[in-house]
């Protein structure tokens, strides 16, 4: 038991060191903008469809369920308020991050893991280049930029999904739904929702890069590292969401 604990703590320590080295290398010239742009496209643009679909349908089902539940108490008018607060404060950021942890995190680990087991990462080091600067910084940096943007778009899609159901299933007008939705939201809600995704992006990016760079043992090792990333990434999002929510509620 203490052995497993020590191993986990040791891995956590190495991830913190990777984060520290990423910050150092990220601040060092040259800034490798072309690598950043490539990752912004690979990680960001290509994730839009799946995150938008996920949150769109979540908004739709949330609207339906809320209307159904509140009908008993005559509270259907609050569908817009509840959908907006749930999507913006919680479901939009967490679902977008979980989807990204699965799609992007797995992709990063598989790519870096394959590079590690085929000695391409060692080749980078032998050519006097830093794998952290070349591989980790552009990916974590792109995630930090793109996840908040993806989340904002996903939130809009979630609200749109809620509106569709409120209009066609509950019988509200679009203006009525949007008045309630926007009236319920404050700047702090949006700040809290989007702010959390910066931390999610950091956790997903570092976990994915760490597991990829430390993959060993060929295809089997890359497979295990990729699975590990999806599990660790998803858990880190869900657990940190609780603590981040507590912290954001203080302000």
């Amino acid at each position: 038991m203490t052995g497993i604990l020590r191993q986990n703590l040791s891995e956590l320590g190495r991830m913190v060191l990777l984060l520290w080295e990423s910050i150092r290398q990220g601040l060092r010239r040259p800034f490798e903008w072309d690598l950043w742009m490539e990752q912004l496209f690979q990680l960001g643009v290509r994730s839009l469809t799946i995150t938008n679909l996920t949150v769109l349908f979540t908004g739709m089902v949330l609207s339906l369920q809320t209307a159904y539940s509140l009908k008993t108490y005559g509270g259907e008018t609050f569908v817009g308020d509840i959908v907006a607060l749930s999507i913006v404060r919680e479901l939009g950021p967490v679902l977008a991050a979980l989807v990204v942890a699965g799609r992007v995190g797995a992709g990063i680990t598989a790519e870096l893991g394959t590079m590690a087991v085929t000695e391409q990462v060692d080749a980078l080091r032998v050519l006097a280049a830093s794998p952290v600067k070349k591989l980790v910084v552009p990916r974590v940096g792109a995630l930090l930029v793109i996840l908040p943007l993806i989340t904002i778009l996903a939130m809009a899609m979630g609200l749109f999904g809620g509106l569709l159901m409120a209009k066609y299933e509950v019988g509200q007008t679009s203006a009525f739904f949007m008045n309630h939705a926007l009236g319920a939201l404050t700047v702090e809600d949006i700040f809290s929702g989007v702010g959390k995704t910066v931390f999610f992006a950091l956790f997903i990016g570092i976990i994915a890069c760490y597991n990829g760079l430390h993959a060993t043992g060929g295809a089997d090792g890359v497979g295990k590292a990729t699975t590990n990333t999806v599990v660790m990434g998803s858990i880190s999002v869900i657990v940190s969401d609780f603590f981040l929510t507590k912290i954001f509620l203080m302000f």
Binding site: T114, M115, T118, E119, Q120, D122, A123, L124, R125, V126, L127, A128, A129, S130
Partner: protein, 247 residues
Amino acid sequence: MSEPFIRYVDLHKSFGDKVVLKGVNLDIGAGETVVVLGGSGTGKSVLLRHTMGLHAPDSGQVWVDGVEVTELGENELLDTRKKVGMLFQAGALFDSMSVYNNVAFALHEHTGWAEPKVAERVREVLSLVELEGVETLMPSDLSGGMRKRVALARAIALAPRAILYDEPTTGLDPITANTINQLIRSLQKRLGVTSIVVTHDIQSAFTVGDRIAFLSEGEIHFDGTVAEAKVSQEHELRNFLEGGGYG
């Protein structure tokens, strides 16, 4: 022997319970080609990787051009890594880059040259490894032998003073393997670089080496010229050569 360019002093390395190197001592003179010969799993590649700081020893020292690399961190190793090129067993070409970008990688990173000068150097090193017109191809388009040659071109692009070859003929057919052996020999003559070739291929060892160091069970059992190796009565080396049909 000339002044050692690379020196291994009492090198020990274990991975968990598995002891790989048990006190290796070996000097490689400047301009010399030394073949580290041995069976699979005897620690040859591990020894080579210590030279580039890819492994840290449990104890002992590795010196490259008068600098003890075992004492250096990643950032301090950069100068040594620019002086020494390495050919990996499977080439380790960057999958996502074309042949041109693979070979030009170190030039883009470290020279600050304008693109025409980089392109000229890429053409030059590709012709040294007898490849032309392959710049736009991707690594997946290349045969095993071509991949090794492109990887070799990448390793010599910065004009290193030493080249390390990790199993250069493994996985190649005899004709391609022989081409690679001749290439190593001709590069050694034309560039005058110090070379370490790690291999279990006896034919390759006898073709490219000035000296043979026989590594078995983590220790150097024999160190001498190719001619001396052929007639050596050292028990482990004799067994290995006889096993390979060179008895």
